[in-house]
């Protein structure tokens, strides 16, 4: 019945209208809060370290010297080179372990396994990802340590090798999950088209599926790298935690994160040592930011095509 609905109805804000407004505002605030938190963290970390960076820190020493002696009575030095090399070498080895493992697992789960096998594997992988890092640290200390000493006949088993393997195993499950999602996002029509052409399973995966999933796979690897840089507890327990420029994978090293975690509780707030640890934090923050930026650029570049 046209005309039977009063005109005033379209000029009245009813409950639906207000609910909609409320939802919009709530979602907006939640979204913006992420940005606020990031800025907040950055400001906090920077404020604690900035005075030290401006007045005391010698950049040549920070990046060029392996001597991290912040508690020296006579002349404290703040060389972070050994810590940077420590973190980088552990992360590098971890990726050597995790990338083939996680890609292989993702390809098996996503392309070959079916039905029950597939579901079981997915649950197990997610379970692995949920193991607390301190438990991985235990494994490093009590299983890997004697194992490495026995197998390689070296005096100490807490080393780059130990923590790299532990970190690799830690990062692999989440990388597997992300990589498998990326493979799953490749439309089946691509596989079917290639298979109809006479491509074998391996050719389909290698020539069609993996290239199509490139974005997600790169993201998975970079997430693993980020995890490696940020992981603290397992690395602290399995790396030996000694300031040292390593010459082989059997050397103990100390990571940036582990240094902060181990030392911050024992420093006086506002002291140079305290500020130096925050400087390490700023450095870590910058590295993580760069990795994410790189990931973004890479992914965009791939998306744009050649």
């Amino acid at each position: 019945m046209p005309g039977s609905r009063p005109h005033a109805e379209i000029d009245r804000r009813n409950a639906d209208w207000y609910v909609d407004k409320l939802v919009q505002v709530t979602v907006f605030v939640s979204g913006v809060s992420a940005i606020l938190f990031i800025i907040g963290i950055f400001v906090f970390v920077t404020i604690e370290g900035v005075g030290f960076i401006a007045n005391t820190l010698d950049f040549g020493e920070f990046f060029g010297s392996p001597a991290w002696r912040p508690t020296s009575e006579t002349k404290p030095t703040y060389g972070a080179l050994a810590l940077i090399v420590g973190t980088a070498s552990v992360t590098g080895l971890a990726m050597l372990v995790a990338v083939p493992f996680s890609l292989g697992a993702a390809i098996f789960i996503g392309e070959f396994a079916t039905g029950k096998v597939r579901e079981t594997l997915k649950v197990l992988v997610e379970l692995l990802a949920a193991i607390p890092s301190v438990v991985w640290g235990f494994i490093g200390l009590s299983i890997m340590n004697p194992l490495i000493i026995d197998v390689f006949n070296v005096p100490v088993g807490l080393s780059i090798l130990n923590s790299g393997i532990i970190l690799g195993l830690m990062a692999a499950p989440i990388m597997t999950t992300i990589a498998e999602d990326a493979l799953k996002a490749v439309p089946d029509t691509y596989r079917e088209a290639a298979e109809a052409m006479g491509a074998t399973r391996w050719q389909v995966i290698f020539r069609v599926v993996l290239p199509a999933a490139k974005n997600g796979l790169v993201a998975a690897v970079l997430l693993g790298v980020g995890r490696g840089f940020g992981e603290t507890m397992a690395v602290l327990m399995a790396s030996g935690h000694s300031v040292n420029l390593p010459t082989s994978v059997f050397d103990s090293v100390r990571a940036l994160t582990a240094t902060i975690a181990a030392e911050l509780g024992e420093t006086a707030q506002g002291s140079d040592h305290y500020a130096a640890l925050f400087t390490l934090g700023i450095f870590l923050f910058a590295i993580t930011f760069l990795i994410n930026l790189a990931a973004d650029v890479v992914v965009r570049g791939i998306r744009k095509g050649k």
Binding site: E192, A194, A196, M197
Partner: protein, 257 residues
């Protein structure tokens, strides 16, 4: 291979029944496809036309619920008995109804199959790519941007790319499943002209919803209806009313379907 040689059967189908779970999609089909003919299959949606194609190159193996009974012979031997399903499929080109531009460059799309066969020489690949794209009536439109992504082409262009890719397999048998669904009429006519020429070299099975397309192209045409193989005749006979089953005449004249 001379066209004048007596026609030999390339595909022989005996008692083919296809089921999805308990539902039969196609029952008891027996027919032969001669070398160098265009074999049309017409019928409304859900008649089992696509299932029939899938059985020809063992694509049913990708669909666990799909079971195929009866015998499908390709080149004188049951397709199940050819030991290398991959090599079998590489001799049978397929064009799906909806275009599948693989997420690689236009060049790589067409060069994929030759590369899978082990062809590495750039000059040889260049020659194949140009020949196949020309035949698929796409060369002129893409020759200056072979390095751009195939998946970014328009729907109609992607379909011609798919046809070029199928041709790059140098197939003995070409299966076209409603290839013109996403292609404009002018391009459709160009591709149809190409298909008539291709007949000299390959055998073509043309599944189509457009009965007039079957009339224009097919030497013989089979009519499938709701999973039943109704009849097979010289195309001209079907369209001039010399039919064995009145339902065929009704369908061809557009009274249902």
């Amino acid at each position: 291979m001379s066209v004048d040689a007596p026609a030999r059967d390339l595909v022989r189908v005996r008692g083919l029944t296809i089921r999805y779970g308990d539902t039969a999609a196609l029952s008891d089909v027996s027919l032969s496809i001669r070398e160098h003919e265009i074999f049309g299959i017409i019928g409304p949606a859900g008649s089992g036309k696509t299932s029939f194609l899938r059985a020809l190159n063992r694509m049913d193996e990708f669909t666990p619920a799909m079971t195929v009974d009866g015998a499908v012979e390709f080149d004188g031997k049951n397709v199940r008995d050819w030991r290398n399903a991959y090599a079998l499929r590489s001799r049978i080109g397929v064009v799906f109804p909806l275009p599948v531009g693989l997420p690689m460059t236009i060049y790589d799309n067409v060069a994929l199959s030759p590369r899978l066969r082990g062809i590495r020489r750039r000059s040889e690949l260049d020659e194949i790519v140009e020949r196949c794209l020309t035949r698929a009536a796409l060369w002129d439109e893409v020759k200056d941007r072979l390095d751009s992504l195939g998946s970014l082409l328009s729907g109609g262009q992607q379909q011609r790319l798919t046809i070029a890719r199928a041709l790059s397999q140098e197939p003995q048998l070409l299966l076209l499943d409603e290839f013109s669904i996403a292609v404009d009429p002018v391009t459709t006519m160009r591709i149809e002209d190409v298909l008539k020429e291709l007949k000299q070299e390959v055998t073509i099975v043309l599944v189509t919803n457009l009965v007039q397309q079957a009339r224009r192209l097919a030497d013989r045409t089979a009519f499938f209806l709701m999973g039943e193989f109704v009849e097979l005749a010289e195309t001209e006979q079907l369209f001039t009313g010399e039919v064995a089953d009145p339902r065929t005449r009704d369908y061809v004249e557009g009274r249902f379907g």
